[in-house]
């Protein structure tokens, strides 16, 4: 068997059923091996789309995503998605073709040093120079992608290595389950919990990645501690949990941000104190002691020193902290704060109010629906106004903030979870960044529903220009957008455009009842902004609110 066949057999035997990619010269042996392999390949229309589809597949399913590209431009087109997976800790294995070993370093056709280029955006990268190492390297790549803090791993395969006779080794997936942290540290953490009067759980994406959602919910239930979530942590706490205060940070809820600012103990659970969460770091939770729980010890002290840091298995650490606390006064205070800062959906006029539409969309879908979104104002509205019951149902590019993420990620989700509704919420700027992937929807006849919020602007940039650049609107006008319904129709996707509020509910119903893919083009007012907003350099209690 040649190297390419060994690689594909290893993928197949480890249970990989779907991969995403785009062929080219140096990866042709692998594509040849994919034929009749049992591994289903989705031909995307751009390598970036393929890699984001693999990320969406991974995020919606909890499995490792796999993408394949050729050398040179094929490989470089993966880099944005690899970076996205790196910052959001998504398990992804990228396989790239490379020019034959004898040609490497000669500036051969479609040669680029992809290993060198991806040093900073992968957890690790391998160049295979011996065909007998292919399976062993693939085994390492999958283990590395999934273990500890997950992330992207690249395997670069020169064409001659793919074509040479190769030793086959079966898949090896030995992910060692880590222990809880030490007795003494857990004891100290429990002591902090007991002494605290105003504790808050600050829940991040690490909870979902560690498959610790149930343990988190048990911890919150047992301790009675109010909670807030990061963008990537959304869904870990049920939205109807009585102590849940919503998302914190730059566009967080007033109740969440104020609770964190007031708390005397912050329990960071799979979260990393990122700048969009903390605002002005020195002013973040200024009176709080900190318990920091994370699988990656490099996060401890990176942005905020913890009084106790707990590494190791998050599930076990959370279970170890399950104690009964009686903080009724504090919980009552937080619930009152939440009740007094409910979202207001009563907006005068007949224009479509995007937050209300998203709330109605959320109410019309089941708890298991997957919402993939792009990046910008609509992304924040999704986080604020839609309800999520598991982190794997909310696909959002959090760390890198990659416009163009949503459409291919929805495609990956639709393939990994065919039994669930998959809905893309996009903006007119983001949608055009990977619009070619409408062809992938068509190719697989995927029933992805698309809600396109169109304000004919790069809305978030425009909002900042309005607020912080004296309303000098530089290159944020998209009023020359295409006719999106006609565009979708060219890919066999039906849909309609709506402009007034009374059209929303019937249109949502029509979209959700449609058997296949469908686009709802929603025209919204370009003056609508995302509120609240913590301005740059401010602490989180210094929120700007919508003006009456």
């Amino acid at each position: 068997m040649n190297g390419a066949n060994a690689l594909v057999k290893n993928l197949s035997q480890r249970g990989i059923r779907h991969v995403f990619g785009y062929p080219g010269g140096t990866i042709m042996p692998v594509y040849d091996a994919l034929l009749e392999s049992g591994v289903e390949h989705l031909l995307c229309r751009h390598e970036q789309g393929a890699a984001f589809a693999a990320i969406g597949y991974a995020r919606a399913s909890g499995k490792t995503g796999v993408c394949i590209a050729t050398s040179g431009p094929g490989a470089t087109n993966l880099i944005t998605a690899l970076s996205d997976a790196m910052l959001d800790s998504i398990p992804l294995v990228a396989i790239t073709g490379q020019v034959p070993t004898a040609m490497m370093g000669t500036d051969a056709f479609q040669e680029i040093d992809i290993l060198g280029m991806t040093l900073g955006c992968t957890k690790h990268s391998f160049l295979v120079t011996d065909p007998d190492d292919i399976c062993d390297t693939l085994n390492k790549a999958f283990i590395l992608a999934q273990s500890g803090r997950p992330g992207p791993v690249l395997v670069d395969l020169p064409k001659d290595i793919q074509m040479s006779e190769a030793h086959y080794a079966p898949p090896l997936d030995v992910i060692e389950e880590r222990a809880a942290d030490s007795f003494d540290k857990i004891d100290t953490a429990i002591s902090l919990l007991q002494k605290s009067n105003k504790p808050v759980a600050y829940v991040g994406g690490g909870v979902g990645m560690a498959n610790a959602v149930e343990e988190l919910r048990e911890f919150l239930s047992q301790t009675g501690i109010p909670s807030v979530c990061t963008l990537k942590g959304i869904g870990a706490v049920r939205p109807d949990d009585h102590g849940y205060l919503g998302m914190l940070g730059m566009h967080g809820t007033r109740a969440a941000n104020l609770a964190v600012q007031e708390c005397d103990l912050l329990i960071a659970i799979g979260a990393r104190f990122d700048d969009r969460v903390t605002g002005k770091l020195e002013g973040f939770a200024p009176n709080a002691k900190v318990i920091h729980m994370d699988i990656d010890p490099a996060e401890f002290g990176k942005r905020r020193l913890a009084d106790v840091s707990l590494s190791g298995c998050l599930k076990k650490n959370l279970s170890s902290l399950n104690i009964t606390l009686e903080k009724e006064d504090w919980m009552h205070h937080c619930k009152t704060s939440r009740a007094s800062s409910q979202w207001c959906y009563d907006k005068p006029g007949e224009d479509i109010f995007a937050p209300l539409l998203l709330k109605q969309l959320s109410e019309a879908t089941s708890e298991n629906s997957v919402i993939s979104c792009d990046v910008g104002q609509h992304q924040m509205w999704v986080a604020q106004h839609m309800s999520f019951y598991h982190p794997s149902n909310h696909l959002s590019s959090a760390g890198l903030g990659t416009m163009g993420f949503g459409l291919p990620a929805a495609i990956g989700a639709a393939i990994s979870r065919p039994e669930d509704d998959v809905i893309l919420v996009s903006g007119d700027g983001s949608f055009m960044m990977n619009v070619q992937e409408l062809a992938s929807i068509k190719r697989k006849q995927l029933p992805v529903k698309i809600v396109l919020l169109d304000n004919q602007r790069l809305g978030m940039v425009k909002q900042w220009q309005e607020l912080f650049f004296d309303q000098r609107y530089s290159e944020t006008d998209l009023s020359d957008n295409p006719d999106f319904v006609t565009l979708a129709k060219a890919f066999g996707i039906e849909g309609r455009m709506i402009t007034e509020r009374h059209e929303v509910l019937p249109a949502l119903d029509e979209m959700l009842q449609a058997p296949g893919a469908w686009i709802l083009h929603v025209c919204i007012d370009e003056r609508e902004n995302v509120w609240p907003l913590v301005p740059p350099g401010a602490a989180n209690h210094e929120m700007m609110e919508v003006s009456a």
Binding site: L115, G116, L119, G120, K123, H124, L127, L144, D296, P297, A298, F300, G301, K302
Partner: protein, 94 residues
């Protein structure tokens, strides 16, 4: 960082043992730069068995050295990070 503030830099020495891979020093030096440390000196030698390399580096930064060592330790090919001496001296002022 607020550039109007003057932050004191400190010097640190590290010895890092790694698997001998062609790109391992690139990985190491990339992390040094990206995490905000200036490289002052660098030397490396291969082990007798030819499977490991040891690098001695001197760096300076206004950031605590743990911000660098913790990131270097996450590198797949890194076996061990030693800090032979504590911070040498408070040195330059930006």
């Amino acid at each position: 960082m607020n550039t109007s503030q003057q932050a004191a830099k400190s010097n640190y020495s590290l010895t890092i043992q790694c698997h001998k891979k062609p790109e391992v020093m690139e990985r190491l030096l990339r992390v040094v730069r990206h995490r905000g440390f200036d490289l002052e000196s660098f030397s490396m030698r291969s082990s007798d068995c030819g499977k490991m390399v040891s690098a001695d580096i001197d760096v300076c930064s206004e950031r605590p050295i743990e911000m660098l060592t913790s990131q270097i330790e996450t590198l797949y090919d890194v076996l061990q990070v030693h800090q032979p001496m504590a911070t040498l001296r408070q040195e330059s002022i930006i």
